[in-house]
C-alpha cells in the first residue's frame, strides 16, 4: 500500500449551481474531498451526477451565467482558489493544475500543429524562447510515446489518430509538470487497446513526476486498475468515498452496490443483470430527502424526509446513507411496531 501524506488539494463543501429559466439546478451540491501528492482519486458516477462539473469547478471553468460556484472552498496548497483573481487563475491553469478532456478533437485547435500548441502552453508559463519551447514540445511528444515526434510535431490534429491526439493532450497537460492533473473521461472516446496504452502512460508519468491525478470516469474497471481512492457521485452529491479496492469487495451505499450489480462482467456468468429501477431524478426537481431514495430498495420513511450526511463507517470509508446511522435501528423498530398492529 502506497502512503500519501502531503495534502495538495482540499475541497470543502463545494456547491456549483446553475440558474436557468426552469429553475436552479444544484449540479454539485456540497462535496468535500482531499487529494494527496502522488495519489489517484477516481470520481465515478453516471450522466448528470455532477462529476464533470466538479472537475470544471476546480479550475473555475464554469460558464457564468448560468453557472456559479455558490459556496465552499477549494484549497490548493493551502490557498483558496475561489478567492483568486482571474489573472492568478490563468497562471495556475495548465501550469500547476492541468486538465485532459474526453474529446481531444474539440480541445485541440485544428489550425495549429500539435507542436505549436504544446509550445504555446510552455511559453505561457515558462520563460523560454521559441526554439527552446519547440524542442521541449518535441521532447514531451517523445515522452508520451509518439513515434517520430519531430515529424508529428509539425502535423495538425486532423492528421493524427484518436489515440495520438489524446497523447498530444497529455503531453500538453504535463508539459509544465503540474502538481495536479484532472483527467475527465480521458479514454472514453478510445478503443480498448488504445485505452490500455493511455492508462498505462498516465500511470508511468504519474510515477515519474509525482503528479496527483483526479480521474473522472463512468467505467468502474478503469477505477479499479488505476485509482487509489474513489468517490461515487449521485445527483450532485457524494454517496460513498473509500479506497478503490474496497469498493469492489465491500461496497456500502445501495447505489454503489446497484451500479456494480448492473455491470455485465467479463469474469462472471449471469443469466439476468440486476438493475436499479427508475432513473436519475431531474435536477430541477430533487427529492427532499436522500436523492437515491426513490430508486432504493431499502428506503424507509426517514430517507424521504432528510438528507443523510457523509459519515465515517470505517478507517477509510465514508458513506451517506441512513442505513449506516443509529437512526436506522429506531426507524426499523418503529416499523416493526406498525407491523404488529
Amino acid at each position: 500500500m502506497k502512503q500519501f501524506n502531503e495534502t495538495i488539494l482540499e475541497v470543502k463543501n463545494l456547491q456549483t449551481h446553475f440558474f436557468t429559466d426552469e429553475g436552479t439546478s444544484k449540479a454539485v451540491d456540497g462535496i468535500s474531498f482531499t487529494l494527496n501528492k502522488g495519489e489517484t482519486l477516481g470520481i465515478v458516477g453516471e450522466s448528470g451526477s455532477g462529476k464533470s462539473i466538479t472537475s470544471l469547478s476546480l479550475l473555475r471553468l464554469i460558464p457564468s451565467p448560468p453557472g456559479k460556484i455558490a459556496g465552499g472552498s477549494i484549497l490548493f496548497k493551502g490557498e483558496d482558489l475561489l478567492a483568486k483573481t482571474e489573472k492568478q487563475m490563468r497562471s495556475i491553469r495548465g501550469n500547476e493544475i492541468s486538465m485532459i478532456f474526453q474529446e481531444p478533437m474539440t480541445s485541440l485547435n485544428p489550425v495549429y500543429s500539435a507542436g505549436e500548441q504544446i509550445a504555446e502552453a510552455i511559453r505561457l508559463h515558462q520563460k523560454l524562447g521559441k526554439k527552446e519551447a519547440w524542442a521541449k514540445a518535441v521532447d514531451m511528444l517523445r515522452l508520451v510515446g509518439i513515434p517520430s515526434p519531430e515529424k508529428r510535431a509539425k502535423q495538425e490534429p486532423h492528421e493524427l489518430s484518436g489515440g495520438m491526439r489524446q497523447r498530444v493532450m497529455i503531453a500538453m497537460a504535463l508539459a509544465c509538470h503540474p502538481e495536479v492533473l484532472i483527467a475527465d473521461e480521458p479514454t472514453t472516446a478510445l478503443d480498448v487497446t488504445i485505452q490500455a496504452q493511455i492508462l498505462e502512460l498516465i500511470k508511468t508519468l504519474q510515477k515519474d513526476f509525482g503528479t496527483a491525478v483526479i480521474l473522472i470516469t463512468h467505467d468502474l474497471g478503469v477505477v479499479y486498475e488505476t485509482c487509489d481512492r474513489v468517490a461515487v457521485m449521485y445527483a450532485g452529491k457524494m454517496v460513498e468515498y473509500t479506497l478503490a479496492k474496497e469498493i469492489f469487495t465491500n461496497p456500502k451505499h445501495p447505489y454503489t452496490i446497484g451500479l456494480l450489480n448492473s455491470l455485465p462482467r467479463l469474469d462472471l456468468d449471469q443469466e439476468e443483470l440486476t438493475t436499479i429501477p427508475g432513473t436519475v431524478p431531474s435536477p430541477y426537481d430533487m427529492p427532499k430527502g436522500c436523492s437515491f431514495a426513490p430508486r432504493c430498495a431499502h428506503a424507509k420513511p426517514i430517507c424521504e424526509q432528510a438528507v443523510p450526511d457523509l459519515e465515517s463507517v470505517g478507517p477509510d470509508t465514508e458513506v451517506s446513507c441512513w442505513m449506516y446511522t443509529p437512526q436506522w435501528d429506531k426507524e426499523y423498530e418503529a416499523e416493526e411496531k406498525v407491523g404488529v398492529q
Binding site: 479499479y224 456494480l260 467479463l266 432513473t279
Partner: protein, 328 residues
C-alpha cells in the same frame, strides 16, 4: 456443416462479402483508391441465437450490419436470408423483405423524428409494412409499448420528453412493430449509463425469448457481449479473425488480437489478476491494409510468413474458427 449433428437452422448466410468505399480525388474527381471497410468475410447466423460482432473502430462491424440491411450496396458477395439472396432482390422486394430485418441504432435521439409523437413513429412503421389493419393499429401500438415497458400514454408524447433509456425502448418497440425475424443491434446500449444499460439488456433478452428473435449484436463492449451472446465473431481491419461460441472465445481465445483485446479491458475483480498484453501502435489504415496478415504490424508473436501470406479462417477446434498462422 456436414458432420455436425446439431439441428440448428441457418437464418442468414453471408458469403465472401466485400464492401469497398471509393475515395474520389485527383483532377476529374476520379476514384483514386478504396477504403476496404469489409474485405471478403463469410459467416452465418443460426435461427434464435445472438451472434455478436466485436472489434475496434474501423474494423468493419457496423458496415457488415449495414450491408446485410442493404443500406449500403455491397461491392460483391452474397447474403442469403432464409434462402433468398438479398443482394439480387429488386428495390420493391427488398423493401418487403426488410419487414423481417430490423435494426436498432446507437443513438436513439438521432433515429427518432423529433416532430412526431411516439404513436406516429410506431404507426408509420406499421403502415409502411402494412402488417396490421388500420383500425387495429392503436391497440397494436399500446401492446408494443407494453412489451418494452412503457405506459400507453407515452403514445401522445414526443421523443424529447423521454430519457435516453426510454428512447432506446421506443427504438426497440419500432423494430418489433413489424414482427421481424432478425434484429441488428448496432451499439444499441453503448450510449446508455450502466444502470440503464442493464435494464435494456434484460429487456432484449426477454423479448428474444418471447418472440423467438435472432440478434446480430454489434458492440465494442466485451462485457455486454459476453452477457448477451451465444457466439462471438471478432473483426480486425475488415477481416474476421476469430469466430467461436461465447464460452470458448472468452475462456480460450486463440487469435493474438482477441487475446490482447480481452486482456486490455479493465476488470474489477481483485481475485483475477491477469497478464496484460499491451499492443503497440494504432490500427493501420483500411485504405492500404498491411500485406499478409493484417494484424502483423501490431502482433507480439509475428513470424515471417505473417508478413507475406494472409491466414485463412480455419476450424481449429469444434465450432471455433481462427485466422492465424500460429494456430494452424
Amino acid at each position: 456443416m456436414g458432420a455436425t449433428v446439431e439441428d440448428k437452422k441457418v437464418l442468414l448466410k453471408v458469403d465472401q462479402l466485400k464492401q469497398y468505399f471509393p475515395i474520389k480525388g485527383g483532377f476529374f474527381g476520379r476514384t483514386v483508391n478504396h477504403v476496404k471497410a469489409v474485405d471478403d468475410i463469410s459467416f452465418h447466423i443460426y435461427q434464435g441465437e445472438t451472434l455478436s460482432i466485436v472489434g475496434e473502430s474501423g474494423c468493419g462491424k457496423s458496415t457488415t450490419g449495414r450491408a446485410i440491411l442493404r443500406l449500403d450496396q455491397p461491392t460483391s458477395g452474397q447474403i442469403h436470408f432464409q434462402g433468398k439472396d438479398l443482394l439480387s432482390l429488386g428495390k420493391k422486394e427488398m423493401r418487403s423483405t426488410r419487414k423481417d430485418l430490423q435494426v436498432i441504432f446507437q443513438d436513439p435521439f438521432a433515429s427518432l423524428n423529433p416532430r412526431q409523437t411516439i404513436g406516429q413513429i410506431l404507426g408509420e412503421a406499421l403502415s409502411i409494412q402494412n402488417v396490421v389493419p388500420k383500425e387495429q393499429r392503436r391497440s397494436r401500438i399500446e401492446e408494443l409499448l407494453g412489451h418494452v415497458g412503457l405506459r400507453p400514454e407515452s403514445m401522445e408524447r414526443h421523443p424529447h420528453e423521454f430519457s435516453g433509456g426510454q428512447r432506446q425502448r421506443i427504438g426497440i418497440a419500432r423494430a418489433l412493430a413489424v414482427d421481424p425475424k432478425l434484429i441488428i443491434c448496432d451499439e444499441a446500449v453503448s450510449a446508455l449509463d450502466v444502470s440503464i444499460q442493464a435494464q435494456v439488456l434484460n429487456l432484449l433478452k426477454k423479448l428474444q425469448r418471447q418472440f423467438e428473435l435472432t440478434f446480430l449484436f454489434i458492440s465494442h463492449d466485451l462485457g455486454v457481449v459476453r452477457h448477451i451472446s451465444d457466439r462471438v465473431m471478432v473483426m480486425y481491419l475488415g477481416k474476421i479473425v476469430e469466430i467461436a461460441d461465447k464460452k470458448s472465445i472468452f475462456e480460450q481465445p486463440q487469435h493474438p488480437y482477441t487475446r490482447a483485446l480481452l486482456s486490455a479491458i479493465p476488470v474489477p475483480n481483485p481475485v483475477q489478476e491477469r497478464e496484460r498484453i499491451l499492443l503497440t501502435g494504432d490500427v493501420p489504415s483500411p485504405i492500404d491494409p498491411p500485406i499478409g496478415c493484417r494484424f502483423h504490424t501490431r502482433c507480439p508473436f509475428v513470424m515471417d510468413i505473417c508478413k507475406t501470406k494472409a491466414p485463412e479462417l480455419k476450424l481449429s477446434t469444434q465450432n471455433h474458427q481462427v485466422a492465424c498462422h500460429i494456430v494452424s
